[in-house]
Symmetry: C2
Subunit: 351 residues, 2 copies
């Protein structure tokens, strides 16, 4: 029986990208609205108490994201429609086509382009993360779910779960990508800080490195970040981040711990890596943990080459529980709908 509250917002269903552009080809996306209802139904069936997300102010959100990104996400689809792009077949969602990479800019500043079709690439760093009419509403609702879960823990709860969709851990201070728009886990960690936790640890067990969360806290010592994920050096997203030598900077030096693992890793190697991340987190004596809960390291998941089982996920949850501090679990990835709910319940049951 799950005894924890699970925060839910029906607005998370309004984001329906319907496709992603993968090396130039329109393909069906795996980050579908049904993920949220599968999670809701699974945790409710397991006994979790569903709690409605409540609307929160922007203070924690603005503490982790730049105003430029927030303004862009809130307005870009309206601007897209105003420019008439939605009139053309297949162009009803915002997809960038030009990106101000270092190779392009070569030292020039990345100004905000005048044209909406160029501005998209100023903030979005891939072609997979489409913006439609309901994207902002859903992303903002996912933030409210994370903040509501953080409230429950700040009020004395041992654990709370936020059914966040779209996910968030690839969203950087000023950029979105990897099917993420706003960094729900980072916002929850910031809210816990605002609520009085002196130190917060974010632990990320999604199969992919949370480059966004890392970037947000990279120079901070009050919120640590640790992640186990498939090695980007073996060719996996996010490709440019998630390496073991990224350990933090300035006040955050030593507060970032990446444990990349090779494709094909199963429970044994996975749990060893999770343990390493937990030990690093514990060393910073956190007063609360935010768990970036993806279950896409599972053997059946289409988005990673890892082979974690249900037992491995249950043991992962136990390792987090053993840290002995309250946990806000924020959903990230997991794309195999038949097992998504059960694997998530396996982690949450152990908490």
């Amino acid at each position: 029986m799950l005894e924890l509250p699970a925060v839910w917002s029906p607005e998370c269903l309004t984001h329906a990208p319907e496709a992603e552009i993968w090396v130039g080809v329109r393909t069906p996306g795996t980050e579908v609205p049904q993920r949220a209802t599968v999670l809701r139904d699974a945790v409710a069936a397991a006994g979790a108490r569903l709690v409605a997300a409540t609307r929160h102010p922007d203070d924690a959100l603005r503490a982790v994201h730049d105003a430029g990104l927030l303004g862009h996400l809130a307005s870009v689809h309206d601007d897209w429609v105003a420019a008439g792009f939605d009139k053309d077949p297949g162009q009803d969602r915002v997809v960038p086509y030009v990106f101000p990479t270092p190779a392009m800019l070569d030292g020039l500043p990345a100004r905000d382009p005048a044209a909406v079709h160029a501005r998209a690439g100023r903030y979005c760093y891939d072609t997979m993360t489409l913006v439609g009419p309901g994207t902002w509403t859903a992303a903002r609702a996912a933030v409210d779910a994370a903040l509501t879960a953080a409230d429950l823990v700040a009020a004395g709860g041992r654990a709370a779960y936020a059914i966040c969709r779209p996910p968030g851990h690839h969203a950087t201070p000023a950029g979105y990508g990897g099917s993420c728009y706003l960094n729900n886990a980072a916002v929850a960690a910031q809210a816990l800080r605002f609520s009085g936790a002196a130190r917060v640890a974010v632990i990320d067990i999604d199969a992919h490195h949370g480059n966004g969360t890392q970037a947000i806290f990279y120079e901070r010592g009050d919120v640590t970040y640790g992640s186990v994920h498939v090695d980007p050096g073996a060719g996996w997203f996010p490709h440019y981040a998630g390496f073991a030598d990224e350990t933090g900077r300035g006040a955050g030096a030593g507060a970032n711990r990446n444990v990349p693992i090779p494709p094909g890793t199963g429970d044994a190697g996975w749990l060893e890596a999770v343990t390493e991340v937990c030990v690093a987190a514990a060393a910073h004596r956190p007063e609360a943990v935010v768990l970036s809960l993806g279950v896409d390291a599972a053997a059946g998941d289409p988005e990673s080459p890892l082979l974690v089982t249900r037992e491995g996920y249950a043991a992962t949850g136990a390792l987090i529980r053993d840290l002995g501090v309250p946990v806000v679990a924020v959903h990230e990835g997991g794309y195999h709908l038949p097992t998504l709910g059960d694997l998530t319940v396996a982690v949450l049951s152990a908490l």
Copy 2:
């Protein structure tokens, strides 16, 4: 009658991208192989002497481009095929999907990703500039055409024309995009320097700003860059560069002159801007000029909102001629096949 030599390589036809990805939608490209044959036939009919491009060593090429870009372009399609991407429908050309923008990296270095599908975005900054099996051959042949034309001028010719395709002026030291792979004009300017010209001026009359050429020479005083183009601040490619306040840096301070003009500009405004660019170039007392010759500012061109006429192009050629130094004309853009040849002849006749 055209009296100048026109350098031609049939290998420029081997690049046949067949499409570009524009805001996520596969569309027919306008930078088609036929552009080269139209130009060849038009200048030959006007009396130009066709000269075969000869193979040149890489010294000038390596002086303007990073080794990483050259290695990538030479190998990426083979790597793409080796990874099996060409087996899937619509994936026979290399198209990036993730880009290491400043918003993504947030201070991390842009390492070369292990996976070819990610590495593409390390060097290519848009989704329009596809790499197929013949792209490297054609891009390298266009460089040889530019170098052969530079040889003819270095040997005492008053002017020479290189039928370069693909075009080049959007290729930066380490990046490709905007249908450009290698910067033919920059290589020609570098070769003229190697041949003994103390100062070279690149004058770019393509409708779009040559952000690549600007970047290559931005910190150099020996090669100046001047461009007239549709204002990127009005929403035109390359969006992030081409503003009037980009004037050069270090040894190149004051040696870069951008004259952006508004959409809808016709001959009068165009020639005023070309004059400004020529005056700036003359102030540096160049011993040779490289003309980045695009004719896409023409009223009928699909790729720009400018309204230059045939008479405007003839007057443009006269302004270049009046600089009184030898000219290597390197073809850039121009996408309206029915007028492409005639407008080009209009410029070249005046030289």
